[in-house]
């Protein structure tokens, strides 16, 4: 950083007046990236959702589709079912994640890095995979199906267990962050006042993380309600909104009713999102710059208890993953349990064979590179730009929207929008590019938030200093902002890569003969009943994502050593 600053000074020419072209250029860039979001998100969504007020011939029919929807009891049940699954998953996941995060941040249990890594595994697998494992474990022929005491795994039980597995890492990240920012001075004061540890927990710890818990709750709820993989694989007859969209669109080709269900599904997700935004604002206000970091004190009983708990959670995660690997290797479950690689002959199955696996890697790489460029630069312009307040506000809103949009809805929206004969962008249809664009858009929100958080940590004085030195903004961006934010940039790229490997719902409508994808192959193979090859391909995705993640770990350590040395010097 110091070197960069020196260089900046060297080249500055103090006599040249600061040109307003700098501001103009910046505004232009905001408009360009804003236009990306409008084209890749707002317009397709509008085309799709407007179908909910049209009939099948395209005539305007007002709200009559909605009336028809609410007159169909089975469809309305789905709202209840979705809420039920969402709420139960939220309560279970947040509870599990809270205790685990508590152990990670407030105990001195051994092996924290290993347990943290294990707890992050579910991010690396397609959301169909836990469902498949549950069938092998608890289905009619399940290895331990007695454990359900006669209950059926197909239905809410299966969906909820799958969703807990799938959402656990997301909740964990948020709650660990919330618990890490505790102020040790509060605990000292409480102890000095002789409060019991239970009382301290309820009067200091819980209030301190309440916003984190609420935030985690909303993220889990949104993910559980919009996910379509788990209910499809293991939902049985239990209808939820996400599978209703599938039935309307795929089963009956009723796009208008599919659009109505999409709008209904957007409501809880959007609501959750806005409440979360409000909460986030308060959380920032809570932080004090004088806070002292809390160092957990050793306590044998408590540490061992937390260790035991972490072992149980890890057993659950590794058990599901291991079951999937065995499912892939059994020759013909349950009648021939000898092991072999016959389920890896993907070329004989649905979904494009081994080609699709390599396509997925290609698609994920493009998504990581271009997605990171677009997202980070967009966040930079919103965060550090001046002027165009309304447009920056709109940009911020659009960047938040994808979180609430189910992938199936986005995928269909892309067909309708990008395949319009009048749309000049229709050359993109059936190409790798449209898969990349849809995936970047689908996972825009979390990437954008990561970038924004990193940028917020940077003092605004960098920009003021650069401006007073008459430096164009892009020089500050390239010489200061990017190096400082390298960890966040790497995080965004790995997040995009991993999700591009595992995503199904949006791309299932968009792939072409040359661009079949591994995650879609998992869906198709399971759909055809080829559950073992589906597990095999799912595990291939996991191994790939895991290797890239490991590579990312070493890479970021290397880069951090070079670019982040200043952080250590400040900390010491």
């Amino acid at each position: 950083m110091a070197a960069a600053e020196v260089q900046v000074r060297d080249k500055a020419s103090p006599l040249k007046a600061k040109s307003s072209s700098d501001d103009k250029l910046m505004r232009l860039f905001i408009l360009v990236i804003g236009a990306y979001l409008v084209v890749a998100l707002a317009m397709p969504l509008y085309v799709m959702l407007s179908k909910s007020v049209l009939n099948s011939d395209g005539g305007f029919v007002g709200l009559s589709n909605y009336f028809a929807y609410f007159k169909t009891p089975s469809l309305v049940y789905s709202i209840k079912n979705s809420l039920f699954v969402g709420l139960v998953t939220t309560v279970i996941t947040v509870s599990i994640a809270f205790v685990l995060a508590y152990g990670f941040t407030r105990s001195r249990m051994p092996g924290k890095p290993i347990f943290k890594t294990i707890a992050m595994i579910p991010i690396l697998v397609p959301s169909l995979l836990p469902g498949i494992a549950l069938i092998y474990l608890f289905g009619r022929q399940g290895i331990i199906n007695w454990a359900l005491f006669g209950h059926e795994i197909y239905g809410p039980i299966g969906i909820i267990i799958s969703e807990v597995f799938f959402t656990l890492p997301h909740a964990l990240i948020i709650i660990i962050t919330a618990l890490s920012i505790a102020d040790a001075r509060l605990y000292e004061a409480a102890t000095a006042l002789r409060a019991s540890s239970t009382r301290i927990f309820f009067t200091v710890t819980l209030p301190g993380v309440r916003y984190g818990l609420i935030s985690a709750g909303f993220v889990v709820f949104t993910l559980a309600v919009t996910d379509f993989g788990a209910p499809k694989v293991i939902g049985g007859d239990f209808n939820v909104l996400a599978t209703d969209i599938y039935k309307q669109v795929i089963g009956q080709q009723n796009f208008e009713m599919g659009a109505v269900v999409s709008v209904v599904l957007l409501i809880p997700a959007a609501l959750a999102f806005f409440v979360d935004r409000l909460v986030q604002k308060k959380q920032i206000a809570l932080l004090s710059s004088r806070a002292v970091a809390l160092e957990p004190k050793p306590s044998r009983r408590f540490d061992n208890g937390m260790l035991a708990y972490a072992l149980v959670v890890s057993f659950f995660i590794l058990g599901i993953l291991g079951m999937c690997q065995f499912a892939a290797l059994f020759k013909f479950f349950p009648y021939n349990l000898s092991l072999g690689l016959s389920n890896y002959q993907f070329d004989l199955m649905d979904g494009g064979g081994w080609d699709s696996y390599f396509n997925s890697i290609e698609m994920a790489s493009y998504t990581a590179v271009f997605g990171t460029l677009i997202v980070f630069y967009g966040a930079y312009l919103v965060e550090k730009g001046k002027g165009l307040g309304v447009i920056r506000g709109a940009f911020q809103f659009l960047a938040m929207l994808p979180m609430a949009v189910p992938g199936l809805v986005l995928g269909l929206a892309y067909i309708f929008f990008f395949n319009m004969p009048s749309n000049p962008l229709n050359v993109l249809y059936h190409t790798m590019a449209i898969l990349v664009i849809s995936t970047i858009t689908h996972f825009y929100t979390v990437s954008h938030l990561t970038a924004t958080t990193a940028l917020k940590q940077m003092d605004a004085q960098f920009e003021s200093v650069a401006a007073s030195l008459k430096q164009p903004f892009y020089r500050t961006f390239l010489r200061v902002t990017v190096p400082v934010c390298t960890p966040a940039i790497l995080d965004i790229s790995i997040y995009l890569f991993v999700n591009a490997m595992t995503t199904v719902s949006a791309v299932v409508f968009l792939y072409s003969p040359h661009t079949t994808l591994a995650s879609v192959a998992v869906l198709n193979m399971d759909d055809a009943g080829d559950i073992a090859p589906a597990a095999a391909m799912g595990m291939m995705i996991f191994y790939t994502a895991a290797s890239v993640k490991i590579l990312h770990y070493f890479l970021s350590r290397g880069i951090e050593a070079k670019t982040q040395a200043w952080r250590r010097s400040i900390e010491n």
Binding site: L25, T72, P73, Y77, K80, N81, I135, R140, Q141, H151, E152, Y154, G155, P156, G236, D237, F238, T243, Y246, K247, I250, G251, Q252, Q253, F255, F332, P334, Y335, D347, L348, M349, G352, L373, L412, I415, N419, M420, P421, N426, V427, L428, Y429, H430, T431, M432, A433, I434, V436, P472, Y474, V508, F509, S512, P513, T515, N524, D527, A528, G529, I531
Partner: protein, 344 residues
Amino acid sequence: MKKSFYRGGSVIAGALLAMGLATGASAATDLMVYTAVEAEDLKKYAARFNEDHPDININWVRDSTGIVTAKLLAEKANPRADIVWGLAATSLLLMKGEGMLEPYAPAGLDALDPKFRDKSSPPSWTGMDAWVAAICVNTVEADKNNLPMPSSWQDLTKPVYKGHIAMPNPNSSGTGFLDVSSWLQLFGEEGGWAFMDKLHQNIGHYTHSGSKPCKQAARGEVAIGVSFAFRGAKSKASGAPLEVIIPSEGIGWDMEATAIIKGTKNLDAAKTLADWSVSEKANKMYNEGYAVIGIQSLAKPVEHFPNNIPESMIDNDFEWAASNRKRILAEWQKRYDSKSEPKS
């Protein structure tokens, strides 16, 4: 500096565009073929066709019947497929109604069984092979649970099978709709619904795909799967303890069919493929997996397929099924789909 930054932007844009265009070009005629044919057969189909027409390169877009149909209809404003080779005739009827098909009488049309062609002249689609409903019974699980072997649809309503049957949800699966519409034709409107009321009591769960009940039966996940014969025969051939049963009342069926998409830029190549798809050679190829084919006189018995299929096929009224589809599905949904409330 400023300049190079602009250049950076245009390089990105150029790369995105290049990614888009690079996948397009090739020497021979590229034909975009949408299909729902089982994935394991696709390479064989293309290879056999290329033996006679090496200059036409088939690009498959393969997915389940529902997704292919939804995709074709969603792309209606700007069709991407040149031809459909191997999609349910009921789906093609839907597309014909939307005016999306190019009527064409392929050379050799007369050899086809009259059932295997669109009634209009020239026909909008021609059939390839029939896929017929069947019951897959897992013999190991049936023994374990003391289930007698069913021989008719009505047998399936006996209380002994309670919870042991899976069938596809007609709202998600074409095979499911084929079953429902055939029962309504076999037992009449009232009798059909009465039968399904009783059957519903025995259903363990409904699935989203037509082949899944049989694959689940093959794995013993259920004892009995209402599915189609082709899937049962395939699973049996791969070693599953299955019995494929053709119910005595008769069986519903649909056919895989071929149709040219209106507005294709490769009309000649599409016609070549349409001609080939009704040829003797093609029919013999369909016969390797399917017992009932477009030119039935060529058909040889297929291993693991029951022999009595052709005479068991009902006189399926596709037009009736297509025009009553919405009503039937709504009724089915009202009766059986709304009962699935949280049980735990």
